[in-house]
């Protein structure tokens, strides 16, 4: 699904990511762990085009995507989230969801005038889907509230629902469970697992080992920008190099 070949990035002499290569298989959940500042988020930024690569190549569905702009990568079906929740604060919950579907006819200026019927039909379809999704995550009474009025956990949940709406083939999640209560974590994990059932592929940065153990099929470990280990969650847990990296030198 996603293949990374020798990704490297340095910021002013400091190597953030060094020669990272990996293959991520379709319909699997792959974890990415490592101590703070080990370059996990930078790696995500490199894959999704938010930061330019120094060296290396990225292939998504056998297509070379490095050098493309973030929105081009996203519209090819590789969508990411951010460490802190990034809902659109002054848009309603419903609007946040309606934004997500890719390639909407109604986002084209000319179509607004010429293809009004199609735009309306498409909008109604999306609306139906969004409403049922909102109901599923229990935010129906809040559907016309601005997203900024939601609790942090609800915002995270909304973000997940938005991903669901966007319906990409592969999702990169940057710490989806950071800073929220266990009940919410459970909901979000269910979300991830349901979507995997639907054939989605995941790449997840996560600190919560419980989440990693329960969800992930495969885990990469990053330290100082280098991949120091990979394997199943069980293997990783017992890898001395990983333990060393976490406990410090």
């Amino acid at each position: 699904m996603l293949e990374l070949r020798g990704l490297s990035k340095a910021f002013g002499g400091i190597q953030a990511v060094v020669d990272f290569s990996a293959r991520l298989e379709k319909n699997r959940i792959t974890g990415l762990i490592g101590p703070n500042g080990s370059g996990k988020t930078t790696l995500f930024n490199l894959i999704t085009g938010f930061i330019k690569l120094d060296r290396g190549e990225v292939f998504f569905k056998k297509e070379k995507i490095d050098g493309l702009l973030p929105h081009e990568i996203a519209s090819r079906g590789l969508v990411r989230t951010f460490q802190l929740s990034r809902v659109f604060p002054r848009m309603t919950v419903l609007e946040n969801l309606l934004l997500a579907p890719q390639g909407q006819m109604g986002e084209k200026l000319w179509a607004l005038g010429l293809k009004r019927e199609r735009v309306r039909d498409e909008e109604n379809r999306n609306l139906k889907k969004a409403l049922s999704l909102i109901e599923k995550i229990g935010l129906l009474p809040l559907k016309d509230e601005f997203a900024e009025n939601l609790s942090y956990g609800q915002q995270k949940l909304l973000e997940m629902a938005r991903l669901f709406m966007a319906n990409p083939e592969m999702i990169l999640l940057d710490e989806p469970t950071a800073g929220i209560n266990p009940l919410m974590i459970r909901k979000i994990m269910d979300f991830i697992l349901t979507m995997r059932e639907m054939g989605k592929t995941f790449f997840i940065i996560e600190h919560n080992m419980d989440v990693i153990i329960e969800c992930c099929d495969w885990v990469f470990v990053l330290d100082h920008g280098e991949k120091i280990s990979e394997g199943t969650p069980e293997e990783i847990q017992n890898d001395p190099r990983v333990i060393e990296a976490y406990l410090g030198t």
């Binding site: 973030p70 969508v79 609007e95 934004l99 997500a100 909407q104 601005f146 966007a166």
Partner: protein, 300 residues
């Protein structure tokens, strides 16, 4: 009555002007401080063409087209800038356009201005008297309002709002923020050009002095005061400010104090801008989530 109609016409023109700026500031988050440039381009284009005996319809269409083209050309490089630098770049652009009006004498007659701009004739109906012109601007204001409203309520407008809220997150959802910003900027410029053209044909005289920073501040204040990112805010703002400005005339000040009046009024504008930012940054009308969506009722 005539004065009232005159003020209404002015007000309507400013409403079109403010609505177009609201699309940029209120919905797309583009802080354009050189919006007056497009107002000027529209005014000059239409005025020059009709002065050379081209029909008003052509003048108007060309005014809109040229404003749009200039919007595109300026937007192309400057929309890559971050918000505040974009503001400064547009401010510079606004002043530079004014200097072009002032110095390219062969085209614009420079500081002499263009007198005798003909009253518009639309489909062989001449809008010569004040009430007729009032109806004309009212019509155009309604068209602008409805057009922008459709735009804002469409999925297109939704993306604009998302870009205003969080450009990076919008990119991550596959929206080409840059391209949407350019589109918004061009549409905004076109309607500013419309306001300018209407303005030129109304006063029948334009000169570079009509397109200074003061106009930008006034229209910015209209949007901020009324409530940016709301459909009715610019209307309220324009009505309040234009009528406030002119009501000062009725205070019957002794003329000796005239010298103090204009600066005072502008001080009030400045203070109002600060005041709004400090105490009610959302404006008089607050932006609210829209409840009713096309077909919401039908979905069940």
């Amino acid at each position: 009555m005539d004065l009232f109609l005159h003020l209404c016409v002015m007000c309507l023109i400013y409403i079109i002007f403010a609505l177009s700026l609201n699309l940029e500031i209120g919905y797309t988050g583009l802080f354009n401080f050189g919006h007056v440039a497009f107002f000027g381009i529209g005014a000059y284009t239409s005025a020059l063409l009709t002065l050379h005996h081209f029909p008003f319809e052509l003048g108007l269409v060309m005014a809109l087209t040229l404003s749009g083209i200039f919007g595109f050309l300026l937007g192309l490089p400057s929309l890559r800038l971050r918000g505040d630098f974009f503001g400064i770049a547009t401010l510079g652009f606004g002043e530079m356009i004014r200097m072009v009006f002032q110095n390219e004498v062969w085209l614009t007659k420079g500081p002499m201005g263009l007198p005798g701009i003909p009253k518009p004739t639309l489909f062989s109906f001449r809008f010569a008297t004040l009430p007729q012109y009032f109806l004309l601007t009212l019509g155009f204001t309604a068209i602008t309002f409805l057009f922008l409203r459709i735009l804002i309520r469409s999925p297109f407008g939704r993306v604009l709002k998302a870009i205003r809220e969080d450009e990076i997150a919008a990119e991550a959802l596959g929206k080409n923020a840059y391209r949407f910003k350019i589109k918004s900027f061009v549409v905004g410029s076109i309607f500013a050009g419309l306001a300018g053209a209407l303005w030129g044909h109304y006063t029948t005289f334009i000169s570079p002095n009509d397109f200074t920073l003061l106009e930008t501040i006034l229209v910015l204040l209209i949007v901020v005061l009324g409530g940016k990112g709301t459909e009715w805010g610019p209307l309220l703002g324009a009505a309040l400010l234009i009528f406030f400005q002119e009501s000062l005339r009725f205070l019957r000040l002794p003329p000796e104090y005239g010298r103090y009046l204009a600066p005072l009024q502008q001080m009030i504008f400045g203070a109002l801008l600060i005041f709004m930012m400090l105490f009610r940054p959302e404006g008089l009308i607050k932006e609210r989530g829209r409840r009713v969506y096309a077909g919401t009722q039908r979905v069940e």
